[in-house]
């Protein structure tokens, strides 16, 4: 079945307009396949056996071609290979995609090129191949430094394997980050303190530390609803979060976003740009993109099913571009996204930017939140305090006028 986008928004109507002071450009490339699907994961993921059923290359190249209609103006400053498990991608494909990106937009000489890797698919030789293909930043899914926890999370690697992968990566890439999932069922504050200390002992320059989230439509959701395991209560989760902030700051890795910590200068440039409202092209099944055009900010969402996505792009009937949706964001959308994403950052959002966008803010509630120490006092900037960060969702809701 050929897929079409709504004609009104068909990409040919969106010639790459040269936007004065176009925001920084990044490319997000989604590789949806995983060797084992984690029971907590709600990303667009598919079993690795699907990976062998088709040649996905053509889809990715066509998608880049279409994206160029949306935004022609480069250069690309950051590329992020996410997933799924992009460490399963043939390094050759990665190299070719980067070359294509460079050809279309120009890839900045100091571009950050990140890739998410699973310790299972990260033997040293493979890491070297990835490096050779152009990857310079690796984000390693360690998830836990505890065998039982890894098992619970459905991870197929051991603690030792993750450690080895991390150490190997350190010698190969400019930058390496590791992901951990904490606030797990049964985990105590002391256990987490200990686990975090072990992570910090590896002296990473960047860490993503996520509290386990029970996402709808995941195996964990069902098991949790059935009472198979009990999540830490709010007080413990809050204590764990606070401990994380303190330990990381003391180790020189303060938070720069709700769940992301880095040594000075080591924040993930790609993600930073997207939280700051920058442009990113969403390439690959289910990928989302945000692009500023002459007509406004456009949101794209690619078809999530890999086969449907590929078919749409390969056929190209009626300009089919693999997109499930391409739509112009309304003012309200832009306002909400700006605040929603910006407040996640420790730096917050400059008031001048909010004013320029005309974001309707609730001045009364903002004053209250400042007085309560949940928002930073600086009137030039809208930013949550460390205490406020734990309540970010509510605060986001409160600051936006009803």
């Amino acid at each position: 079945m050929p897929f079409r986008t709504a004609p009104m928004l068909s990409l040919s109507l969106w010639p790459g307009v040269l936007v004065a002071e176009a925001p920084q450009l990044g490319v997000y490339i989604h590789w949806p396949f995983c060797a084992a699907i984690c029971p907590y994961c709600d990303f667009n993921v598919h079993p690795v056996r699907d990976m062998q059923t088709a040649d996905w290359r053509v889809g990715y190249f066509r998608a880049l071609e279409h994206a160029q209609h949306l935004r022609a103006h480069g250069p690309v400053e950051t590329v992020f290979f996410g997933g799924g498990t992009p460490s399963l991608m043939p390094p050759e494909l990665i190299g070719d995609l980067l070359a294509d990106i460079d050809r279309r937009w120009g890839l900045a000489a100091d571009a950050e090129v990140s890739l998410e890797a699973n310790p299972v698919s990260a033997p040293q030789s493979h890491l070297q191949a990835l490096r050779a293909a152009g990857i310079n930043r690796l984000s390693l899914g360690v998830q836990a430094f505890d065998a039982a926890a890894l098992k619970f999370l459905g991870r197929t690697h051991s603690v030792a394997q993750a450690r080895t992968a991390f150490e190997a990566a350190g010698g190969i890439f400019d930058r390496v980050s590791l992901d951990l999932i904490y606030a797990r069922p049964g985990q105590t504050l002391a256990e987490w303190a200990d686990e975090l200390a072990r992570a910090l002992a590896l002296a990473p320059a960047h860490m993503s530390l996520y509290q386990l989230t029970i996402e709808p439509d995941t195996p964990f959701f069902k098991r949790h609803a059935a009472g198979k395991f009990i999540m830490p209560d709010e007080a413990l989760a809050a204590d764990m979060y606070e401990l994380t902030q303190a330990s990381c700051a003391a180790a020189g890795l303060p938070a720069y976003e709700v769940s992301n910590h880095a040594r000075a200068g080591h924040a993930c440039r790609h993600n930073m740009a997207s939280w700051r409202g920058g442009d990113y092209l969403g390439i690959g099944p289910g990928a989302h993109g945000r692009v500023s055009t002459g007509r406004g900010r456009v949101a794209t969402r690619a078809l999530a099913k890999p086969a449907a996505w590929l078919e749409s792009l390969a056929d190209g009937v009626d300009g089919a571009d693999g997109m499930a949706e391409t739509r112009l964001l309304g003012h309200e959308d832009v306002h909400a996204e700006t605040v929603l994403l910006g407040l996640r950052l420790v730096e917050g959002v400059p008031m001048s930017r909010l004013e320029a966008l005309g974001v309707p803010l609730d001045a009364g509630r903002i004053a209250d939140l400042r007085a309560a120490g949940l928002l930073e006092a600086n009137p030039q900037n809208l930013a949550v305090t460390q205490a406020g960060r734990l309540l970010l969702d509510r605060i986001t809701d409160a600051v936006l006028a009803d």
């Binding site: 769940s259 289910g286 989302h288 309540l391 969702d393």
Partner: protein
């Protein structure tokens, strides 16, 4: 006009769910009132809510023709009545239109509170009563035991009792014969001036106001100019008819007959139930006793959740009131809830039904405030003020004393739950008046203040007795009580819609219970929220809703932002289901749930 001696008028009375409407179905079916195709279960319960809840709310009258075993044809006028205590008034006026009653008793349950309440009313108006033991198809049915109860407790002879299953139709023929042989024909003089009792009236979309009457003397015909004796208003009759149960016009209604007329009457409010209808040209000499109008006993505020729907709500109220004069309303303004209406109801079920009809038939989301009763405030200057709304309580120094309504309650309960029921009644300031036994069932009579009963007494009673108790009450008198207004302060500001009138001795306990409930009902906010109960300036109870500690999404990347956005919208949507009060969002249902107590 039928031969007067062949008319039988009877009401079917019983406790809730003992099978009145089902028996009416069988009687209609057997006498051919409706074809099998037209028949449905409880066919007379034609309101949507009646069908849904399986209860009768409005009494319904049907005329049946029955050819008895004596070879003669009889005109039977049947009135199916509601069993629920809120609608006791419907029973009362139905009885007044008849000479006899069928007392239906579920043979698997036995005599219950409304069995007694209703049969005593029937005895009071000198009815011949035929006991009908229903549901004999059920294995638990025990006719001899239930007959014993009827004799012992009510003092009714059961020699003429009929055992039936209204469900299967077993024994229903015998009911028809018993009606003909045991119930009397109506008296009345066909040659006397017209004298008819106004039994009921309602608004019909096609006919306008329809008036149900029982003719006592004389004849009611089309073209007659009739007079309402209480007001003197006159109307020209333009249609006379009966329900079988389908509407059918007849040429006239003679003595003893029950039927309806229409006469271009503008609104139901122009008719008074119990009024005497006569002919303007030749009026009857005396007026029927009539009955006192039904009085709303429970009051509460109804507010539109969406304040822009206030006018729609006003319209809905007016429309419902057209057909239900027992429901009262007046405009109310609340600092917390904005514009709405203070409404009076016959009881909680009545309240619930009206509320549901507004929400469903008019598509208006409502906030309901705590139900309250009518207090009589005796002021220092000697005047008396009726207080329908605790928020309107005047300055205490101007009040000499406050009277509150009391009820006489009768409760039937298996012996093993007696202790629990006694405790409940005592907790609610009850005074025991009598305790007797019918077999292993205790029959308890209690005087209780209505304000202790109005809200959740029935629910508590049911849960304390696993549903085995039955309950009936009647308003008795106003009595002086040590009553005070209790205010609730949320975040240090009084919320008028949460204030209540309580007995001073119960204030602290109620205050504590309300604060505890509100603590659970109001979601945590970014700041802590004190909740206090106060009598005047004195705080008598206090709880604090702790500030929220954590509400943050752990991961949010490009793809998640649309989803996060939806979450944010949902949060905003959820807030619309709350009422903002100061800086605190209070959920709509808190205004009523706050009162629920788990004693």
């Amino acid at each position: 006009m039928s031969v007067q001696k062949n008319i039988r008028n009877f009401a079917i009375i019983a406790h809730i769910d003992h099978g009145k409407s089902t028996l009416a179905d069988r009687l209609i079916q057997i006498t051919g009132g409706l074809s099998t195709r037209e028949m449905q279960e409880q066919v007379l319960d034609n309101m949507e809510l009646e069908r849904e809840r399986g209860i009768t709310i409005k009494a319904q009258t049907v005329r049946l023709d029955y050819e008895a075993s004596d070879g003669q044809t009889y005109q039977l006028n049947l009135i199916d009545t509601p069993g629920h205590v809120d609608f006791a008034y419907e029973v009362n006026r139905s009885l007044a239109a008849c000479e006899g009653s069928l007392l239906v008793v579920d043979a698997s349950q036995g005599v219950e509170a409304q069995t007694l309440a209703n049969v005593y009313q029937a005895i009071e108006v000198d009815h011949e009563i035929v006991p009908v033991l229903n549901k004999v198809d059920l294995p638990a049915a025990d006719c001899p035991r239930v007959c014993g109860q009827i004799e012992d407790v009510i003092g009714l002879d059961t020699a003429g009792a009929v055992n039936i299953s209204a469900k299967t139709g077993l024994g229903v023929d015998d009911v028809l014969e018993a009606i003909v042989t045991q119930l009397p024909a109506p008296d009345g003089d066909a040659d006397a001036p017209l004298k008819a009792m106004l039994v009921d009236s309602w608004y019909d979309a096609y006919l306008g106001v329809v008036v149900l009457v029982r003719v006592i003397d004389g004849t009611l015909k089309k073209g007659q100019k009739i007079r309402m004796m209480s007001t003197g208003a006159t109307h020209l009759v333009d249609q006379v008819g009966v329900f079988r149960p389908k509407r059918e016009t007849v040429s006239d209604l003679g003595p003893g007959e029950i039927g309806y007329f229409t006469a271009a009457i503008k609104q139901v409010a122009d008719t008074r139930v119990g009024d005497t209808v006569t002919e303007d040209r030749a009026p009857c000499a005396d007026i029927l006793d009539g009955f006192k109008p039904s009085q709303p006993v429970v009051f509460c505020g109804l507010f539109p959740t969406d304040s822009s729907q206030f006018e729609d709500l006003r319209e809905a109220m007016a429309k419902l009131r057209l057909n239900d004069a027992s429901f009262d309303y007046e405009m109310e303004t609340s600092a917390a809830l904005g514009f709405g209406f203070r409404c009076g109801f016959l009881g909680l079920l009545h309240l619930e039904i009206i509320r549901e009809r507004i929400e469903r038939e008019f598509d208006i989301d409502l906030i309901t405030t705590a139900p309250s009763v009518v207090y009589h405030l005796h002021m220092n200057d000697g005047s008396m003020v009726e207080l329908h709304n605790p928020a309107d309580m005047p300055d205490i120094v101007k009040i000499d004393h406050i009277d509150e309504p009391w009820i006489d309650a009768s409760i039937l309960v298996p012996d093993e739950y007696l202790g629990a029921v006694l405790k409940l009644c005592e907790d609610r300031r009850g005074r025991q008046k009598n305790l007797s036994y019918a077999g292993s069932r205790a029959m308890l009579e209690y005087a209780l203040p209505l304000n202790e009963v109005v809200f959740d007494f029935y629910d508590r009673l049911k849960s304390a007795t696993r549903g085995y108790a039955s309950f009936d009450y009647q308003l008795s008198a106003y009595k002086t009580g040590d009553l005070v207004k209790m205010s609730i302060l949320v975040n240090a500001e009084p919320v008028d819609a949460l204030s209540t009138i309580v007995h001073r001795e119960r204030a602290e306990m109620r205050g504590r219970a309300m604060c505890e409930r509100l603590k659970d009902l109001i979601p945590r906010h970014l700041f802590k929220i004190p909740i206090q109960a106060a009598l005047g300036g004195k705080i008598i109870a206090r709880e604090t809703i702790a500030a929220l500690r954590k509400d943050v999404t752990a991961k949010c990347y490009g793809g998640d932002v649309s989803r996060k956005r939806k979450l944010l919208d949902k949060q905003k949507e959820g807030k619309k289901k709350m009422r903002q009060f100061g800086k605190v969002d209070i959920p709509q249902d808190a205004f009523i749930s706050a009162l629920k107590m788990d004693d």
